[in-house]
Symmetry: C2
Subunit: 128 residues, 2 copies
DNA sequence: GGTATAATTGACTTTTACGTAAAAGAAAGA
DNA sequence: TCTTTCTTTTACGTAAAAGTCAATTATACC
């Protein structure tokens, strides 16, 4: 287990710019330590970055990603808060299910395009 | 089968603005007919809009959505083109598989959050 | 101790995907 | 005919998510 990661280590690992990581810090998504003015990222920050980029790939906005991250921060103690949290989880789950369905549909269409291509290729080989 | 849809019919059906549909036309994603200056959308346009919005939900940019739409336009005749097309299909499939994996991971984390919530609820009921 | 190398902040710019407002034509109902 | 209700084009505006550039400041290596 390493203690700290530098910002450029992480930009290389994840293929993002330093500007991006600083932007995520400004947005409050990560809170790296400091030694002087230099940022020191811990494993927790690194993990958060992974989750941010995952959300980004799925087309979530920063605001939506923030929601997801706050959900991860663990269940609160109070009853009302707990119910609110579970409602949010249910909402996110619905969004994700919608996206999953969108993916399945798109993949199915790509499959049929692929088949059509193969069919056309076969025709060409026979010599249309 | 209806012949034409007006722009507002479609905005209501899909919950988007007229500006959005005109924007998609400017971008060359749809090509509605005209009667005078008024746009008349056919079933094919309506179907394309569905696919555009599906891509949008998945976080694809307009450029990426355009790529997908051009793939749908059916296999070309020439060999080189066919191979290029199949390569593109394979690329899109990879992107979608990545997104699917992202979704599964996120859903799994939401599941464990949910469990933690339920556990905490049970504790509260017993009276911690 | 000088000189690359890496990191910082701050400000300005850019791109994407529309929103919004203005001005005007066309169709439809009272 | 008057008034709504749609629709159009043109043009400018904007929010999100960084990119880019400049001016500094440390750090590290030789």
């Amino acid at each position: 287990m390493r203690k700290y990661y530098t910002i450029t280590e992480l930009t290389r690992e994840f293929g993002v710019s330093t500007r991006t990581l600083r932007f995520y810090e400004d947005e409050g998504l990560i809170q790296p330590d400091r030694r002087g003015r230099t940022r020191l990222f811990r494993a927790a920050d690194r993990h958060l970055i992974k989750e941010i980029l995952r959300g980004r790939r799925l087309g979530f906005t920063i605001a939506e990603i923030r929601e997801i991250i706050e959900i991860y921060k663990g269940p609160p103690g109070e009853l009302g808060q707990l119910e609110l949290m579970m409602k949010r989880v249910a909402q996110k789950r619905e969004q994700l299910n919608q996206k999953r369905q969108d993916i399945e549909e798109t993949l199915a269409e790509l499959d049929s395009v692929d088949e059509a291509c193969l069919a056309r290729l076969a025709e060409l080989r026979v010599g249309t």
